[in-house]
Amino acid sequence: MMLYDVLVIGGGHAGTEAAALASRYGARVLLVTQNLETIGQMSCNPAIGGIAKGTVVREVDALGGIMGRATDLSRIQFRMLNRSKGPAVWSPRAQCDRGLYRRSVRWLLERLPNIHFAQGTVASLLFESGPQVSGVRLTDGRRYQARSVVLTAGTFLRGRIHLGLDTQIPAGRAGEGPSVEMVEDLVNNGLTVERFKTGTPPRIDGRSVNSGALERQDGEDQPYWFSFHEKAPHPKQLPCFLTWTKPETQEIIERHLQESALYGGAISGRGPRYCPSIEDKVVRFPNAQRHQVFLEPEGLETSEMYVNGLSTSLPPAVQLEYLRSVPGLEQVQMTRPGYAIEYDYFPPTQLDATLAVRGFPGLFFAGQINGTTGYEEAAGQGVVAGLNSAAFAQEREPIAIGRGDGFIGVMVDDLVHRGVDEPYRLFTSRAEYRILLRQDNALRRFLPLAERLNLLPDEELDAALSRMGREDEVMQTAQLTTITPDEAAPVLEAVESPKITQSLKISELARRPGVSLGELFRAAGQDVDEDDTTWADIECKYEGYIAREHEMIAKLQKMERYELPEGLDYFSLNAVSYEAREKLDQVRPGTLGQAGRIPGVTPSDLQGLAIEIARSTSR
């Protein structure tokens, strides 16, 4: 029997990144999945990136993950969201060809050293010498041994699909079976499990859409690559279409509400507030006149479209009825109905900051089974679990990614110390230091770690360093080049910024809001590559703030130095509110800083805790 360092269960966005990073960190990896054809499957909408998520894709890429490169290879439309806000929250988002994305993931994964694949369903985890995990047994009797195991089961754990009230199919994803035994094993071994729900909208045949009547949305022409690796050629670009529900749509849904799995009482789990089903929207905002519906292309080789905005658990016949009430969809053919899915997740407060399951050496969890939603969130966790499972298997130091390092660190810290009460999604406002944690500097933030852990082969490291070198050069040029009032005038006029009266360094003038560094260069007669100026431009604009956020990180790190005694009896602390005592007892934070990020723990509770630390150290 083969002995692997790391065995990854699941081939979704968490599993593939975990396998990739474990391989890059020197481990022998086996990826076990129910169906090798669906490695890298996008089971919900065919898009990667978005608010905060786009930044995560670039962080994953900087460490050698595959999501960014797969997106560059398969994207059929690109937009930079929040372009009109501040550059700290610019968020790249791409529509992808679903099939091309999947194939790109597998292709990229197979090019990495020491990754092996096995198709099959895991029946149970194997344990050796107590809680130490030692491998898996498949339902067909095969056994694999491994020093560490990463479980990334997505929605497959006791998954149950609902189509209206009457149809319930035990499944992990449409057309694929659930995993049941393994959950029971883990629960019997003392882990807590809870239930969430999520949903998808129907898909339709694009040939039956009257797109001439709809608002067409094209992507941006500006070149953009998520990955630092290579400027891969993009496929042909496709438009999306925007339409709106009508009052009739609302009437149909209201009339059939009791047939919905959600409102008929068939589903009990909690779903995400920010991704509501159309039933939720109708019930919660009865006065809304209309709701947006985006028709997104599924790919280049099919006319099938994804109906973003109409996620549902109504019976298929009702879905077709309300679809046909939407302008442009009067004759529509539904190819696949939308459905709701209920699944098990393990409350992530049972994990430590390396995503290792506490009390089970060698076992790691990543992705949706930790109560998150979103491909990018799953990928970010895959990176952390992949690196740390490889570190564990090779007896190396654990690798912690903190809140000051990136959105990956913000997410992991939120998950393991705050826990979740609805499917967790990243937002920029979850980060304290979003002026620092930007999409344009992700490579800079993570390359030192990639270099230290030797994750990138020489030619990849050279590519990353040369990209940063070009950006640094732009910054130096901006600091050395002066621009005259006459040269600057048209640039300043265009954004209604006051004129200058004497020549200034370009880097100083670029501090002004709205004044683009690239345009200043062009006005001063310098030729620069737009893609290389973004970083310098933003650094100029945020100069003072960046310094202040670094100070704040230092202050936070000070709070992290105050350790809370391990066996602290929180219920004995009169100085802390009862609600906070319960939360603290449940989460058992390691430091005062972590305690402060637990919801329900207020500044005055922290004061109480701080006093307790002061008391115990003065004793």
Partner: protein, 445 residues
């Protein structure tokens, strides 16, 4: 150890009918059992009559005691309150008996410190305990009582909620673009920003008067020799505190006395006349007078009715915080040409102008105070500095909240405002906490 049993007199030492002793901490009831005959904890919060015994079991006094089991006590610990007879013998013997039974003598402020440590009150409330005990005027006491009751803490918490709501608007704008409802209107953001800024500014505006309320407003009587300053001083105090003669220059040093006008605390200061010094002692007196002038909240420039002001007096009269009084208004029919309209004629003989003077003083000193008695005010420099920082942060946020601004930078400044308020209610760095507690409550000396 910060929970060992402590005991101390809660009333001032010396001759009195009754004295109150407090005993608090772990094991307080066991100690009381040794001193109070037939001591019982239950029923709690109920006065019972008992004999108090010394270490040998001899009765030293008879009095009342009440029990307050933890956490329902002022310190949050087990607490016993004993009322015994006052004077130098009985109360001291009872206290000695408690010490002999194992209770340590409490350090200054230690009961309040324990209340803070056990979260019975926050730092703002603890500050108010001292203010309430020190209060010399009704308004002072009421303000301290309101702060003790959590009035200021609640207002700060309310402002904090407002700031968080503003941040939520900005977060929606950044994190949820392209929703059904569309973007947040810039007007809504600006309105929320203006409103919270107004509220912060309103609370901040109470700071000068609030600090005056806590320490008493300094009102300095100044003017040439023999203008009747000391007579007015005595009249305003209601008793003879300063020596009054016909001889110019009788008052050589400054004399300060506390009083209240219409319930507001005032520290009235009589000073030596401002004149060419005749000798070294005069010179020192005049210097002291000038120092008081510089530190005064309000100066009453006393000029005898009919006197033409000298150069120095005219200069002084132009200061913002100077009120010109025409003293001895009963003495003569003054030629009306030598006094300005705003001058206030007063006479201690007829009482003319005194009522008016008092109300002018209160108005000038405390007019920024909220009209309602129960509106919170800032009474300390620490409060003012924190609110000042919050206000500045909101000013800094302004330009970024406008259309075409940068919501992230706006949110960054608003976060700074939240932090400033957090530090006011409760700091979160253990080192800061210790520094603050130890400096405030004289612990550990």
């Amino acid at each position: 150890m910060l929970s060992d049993p402590i005991a101390a007199l809660a009333t001032p030492p010396g001759r009195s009918a009754l004295a109150v002793i407090r005993l608090s901490g772990e094991g307080a009831f066991a100690i009381a059992e040794q001193v109070v005959r037939s001591f019982r904890v239950q029923p709690e919060r109920t006065a019972r009559l008992a004999f108090f015994l010394d270490a040998e079991g001899h009765t030293v006094d008879q009095g009342l005691y009440l029990t307050f089991p933890s956490p329902r006590s002022v310190t949050g610990e087990d607490l016993v309150e004993l009322t015994c007879h006052g004077g130098r013998v009985a109360s001291v013997q009872v206290l000695t008996a408690l010490h002999a039974a194992g209770a340590r003598a409490a350090r200054p402020g230690e009961f309040t410190l324990r209340a803070v440590l056990n979260r019975k009150m926050d730092l703002l409330q603890a500050e108010a305990v001292g203010d309430l005990v020190d209060a010399g005027a009704k308004r002072q006491a009421r303000s301290a009582l309101d702060q003790l009751d959590g009035g200021l803490s609640r207002r700060i918490a309310h402002l904090r909620d407002r700031l968080i709501a503003l941040q939520a608007l900005l977060a929606y704008d950044v994190d949820f673009p392209g929703e059904d409802d569309g973007p947040v209107s810039p007007e809504r953001v600006l309105e929320a920003h203006q409103e919270v800024m107004r509220e912060v500014a309103a609370l901040l505006a109470t700071a000068p008067a609030g600090e005056r309320l806590r320490v008493g407003a300094v009102v300095v009587l100044a003017g040439p020799p023999n203008a009747g300053k000391s007579s007015l001083f005595n009249t305003l105090l209601g008793h003879d505190r300063a020596l009054v003669t016909e001889i110019p220059g009788t008052t050589r040093d400054a004399i300060e006395a506390a009083t209240e006008f219409e319930g507001w605390p005032v520290r009235l200061v009589d000073t030596a006349g401002l004149w060419e010094a005749r000798d070294r002692l005069d010179r020192l007196g005049v210097e002291v007078s000038r120092r008081y002038l510089a530190g005064a909240d309000l100066v009453l420039l006393c000029l005898e009715t009919g006197r033409v002001p000298g150069e120095e007096e005219r200069a002084l009269a132009t200061w913002d915080n100077v009120v010109v009084l025409r003293t001895k208004a009963d003495h003569m029919d003054a030629p009306s040409t030598d006094r300005s309209e705003e001058d206030l004629p007063v006479s201690i003989v007829t009482g003319e102008g005194l009522e008016r003077l008092r109300s002018v003083l209160v108005d000038r000193l405390f007019r920024e105070m909220p009209s309602s008695d129960y509106e919170p005010v800032l009474t300390r420099e620490r409060h003012r500095l924190a609110l000042d920082r919050a206000h500045q942060a909101l000013v800094d946020a302004g330009p970024f909240l406008k259309p075409g601004g940068d919501a992230v930078l706006g949110a960054h400044h608003i976060e700074n405002a939240v932090v400033a308020l957090d530090e006011l209610i409760g700091v979160v760095d253990p080192e800061d906490i210790l520094t603050r507690i130890f400096s405030q409550f004289c612990v550990g000396k």
